[in-house]
Symmetry: C2
Subunit: 304 residues, 2 copies
Amino acid sequence: MIYGLHPQNSRTFIVVRIMYIMLNNVFKYILLDLYEHFIVIFLLIFVLFIKYDNLINQRTMIIFSVNMQNIFKTLRSKSYSVPCEFCSIGSLCIPILLNNKLDNILDRKMSYAKDEIIVKANTPFTKFYIIHSGALKTFVTTPDNNQQINGFYLPGDIVGLDSISTKIYNNNIQSLTNTLVCELYYDELMSLVDTQKNVRDMVFNLLSSSINNYQKLVLCYSQKKADERLATFIYSLYRHYEQRGHSSLNIKLMMSRADIANYLGLKIETISRNLSKLQEKNILSVRGKYIFIKNLNALIDLGN
Amino acid sequence: MIYGLHPQNSRTFIVVRIMYIMLNNVFKYILLDLYEHFIVIFLLIFVLFIKYDNLINQRTMIIFSVNMQNIFKTLRSKSYSVPCEFCSIGSLCIPILLNNKLDNILDRKMSYAKDEIIVKANTPFTKFYIIHSGALKTFVTTPDNNQQINGFYLPGDIVGLDSISTKIYNNNIQSLTNTLVCELYYDELMSLVDTQKNVRDMVFNLLSSSINNYQKLVLCYSQKKADERLATFIYSLYRHYEQRGHSSLNIKLMMSRADIANYLGLKIETISRNLSKLQEKNILSVRGKYIFIKNLNALIDLGN
DNA sequence: CGGGCTCTTGAGACGAATCAACTAGCGTGG
DNA sequence: CCACGCTAGTTGATTCGTCTCAAGAGCCCG
C-alpha cells in the first residue's frame, strides 16, 4: 500500500480528502506555473495541520509522510481521483450498495504501479475494473506483435464491458500511472441487476453509451485528417474531465505520444508535428505532457 | 403491403416459405449463372402449384401474383431471410415469447421499400428493429452535409442498441433493399429482462458483442491499408452469413461501392481499384454486386 | 436506343509514413 | 552537484499510398 492514498485512520483521511478536492476545484483555472506555487503553499498548510493535530503518534506520522509523498506526486502530475458520486457508476456504486461503511469501500480499491499489466488478454473474465484515480489503457496485440490501443480509461470509467459476451478479456489492460481501481464482480452486478431496477438501467446505459463512443471514434477515424483527429482527441479528454466534475482548460496527458499516435491510427511524428501546428495556430499551448487549451471553440471547430 | 412477403392466407404462406428456405439451402453453393436457371424452374413449379391448389380464388390470386413478383425480385437479388432460430435474438424472439402463434409473429413484421428512411436521427427512441430479410444501413449526417455510415445490418441483426443511453436514435436508419423488420419495443424488452434470466443474458450479450465489433472496426481503421480493410470487410460479410446458417462463398453486396467506401473510410475509386487488385491476385471473382471468394485463406491472411 | 446511373481506370496532387538526425527531459551513479 | 546515458519528443527530407480530377465503360430503365 505504498502507492495511492490509503491511510488507516479515517478522520485524518477525510481531512486529506477535503483539502485534495478543494485544491482540484478552487485552482482548476490557474495556469501551470502558478499551479506549482500553490502546491508549495498547500503543503505548508498541510505540514502545520499535522504539527497541531493531537492524534499524531509515531505510526500515523509514518503513514502521513508516505501519503504526503504520494499527494505531492499526484498533484505534480495533476492526476486526480473522482469522488464516488462522479464515477460512471454514480450513486449506484456497488461497494456502497453492498455495505454502506466507508472502510469497506476503501478495502475494495486495488492499487497498481505505473505500466503494470492488470489483465492479460484471453484470460477468463470475472470482474470489471472501475478507475478511482490514475489511468489505464486497453490494447490488443496483433499477430505481427505490435499493439493496438483501443481505449484510454480515466477516473470514473469502467473497463471490461466488451467481455460480457466473450467470457474472456478481449484486451490487455495496463496502467499508465499509479492507479487505484475498484473491482466489481460480474456475478455480483448481475444479482443486483435482477433485484434493483436502477442498477439494471445504469448497466444498460453504460453499455449503450460505450457503443455510442465507439461509433463516434469510428466516425473520427474514417473521415478526419490528422489535425482533426488530434483536436477531437484533446476535446474528448476535456469533455471527459468536465463530465466528472473537473472542468479545466489545463489537461495532463496521461499517455505518451506513442500511445496517442497508436490510438488515433497515426504515427508519433505526425502527432508531434500536429501538436506544433495547433500551437502555431494559437489553439493550444503544449509543454511536455501538459496542454493548455487557449481557444476552446477553435478546437471544437477543428474537430468538427 | 405491396412490398415483401405478406399473404393473408397462412397455409399458402407456409408453402411459399418452405420452398423459399429450400431454395436458399439447397442451392447455396451453386454459382451465379446456374442460379438464374434454377429460379426459372422454381417459378414453373410454383405456377403449377398455384394452378392445382383448390384454395385459389380471385382474391388470393392477386395476392399471389404480387408475392411472386416480390419473390422473383428477392431471389434475383439473392437476398435471404433468416429463419427465426438463426436470428441474433435466437430462440428468445420476443414475438414468439409473447404469443406463440405464427400469425402474430407475422403481424409484427414491417415492410420497407429500397432506400426508404426508416428512422431519422434525433427522433425519440422507442423500439429496436430486428431484420428478418433485406438489409439496412445506419448513418449520421455530418455538419458539412455528407453522410458517415457506421453500420450495415443483415438478417438476424438488431438495430438501435446505441440509443438506450441517449433515448433518441443517434443514427438515421435506411433500407438498402426491400426489407422486412420485426419491431421490438424497448419497454417490452425491459419487462422481459426483469422476469426472464435468459432474456437478460441475451440482451447483455448483444450489447457486449456490439462493443466488441466496434473495437474490431476501430482496429481495422487505425492500422490497416485499403486492401486489408476491404479484405476484412468481405470476410466479415462471409462470417456474418455463415453465423446465420448461410455459409456460401458467393456473396451479394447489398450496398453500393459508395457505401462500402464511406463505411471503410476510403473513396469509391480506391474500393474499385482494390477489388480489381484482389481479383488479379485470384482471391476473389467480382461481377457487379456479386463476389465469389476463390481463396478464403488468402482473404483471411490479407485481412490479418 | 439514348439518358442517367454506377462502376472502372488513368494521371497528377497531397498528406501521412518512413528514415534519419537532433534536442529535451529524466533518473542514475559517481 | 554535475556528467552521463537513456528514453521521449521534435524537426527535416524523401517515399509511398490514397485522394482528386477526369474520362470512359457497363448497366438498368423508360
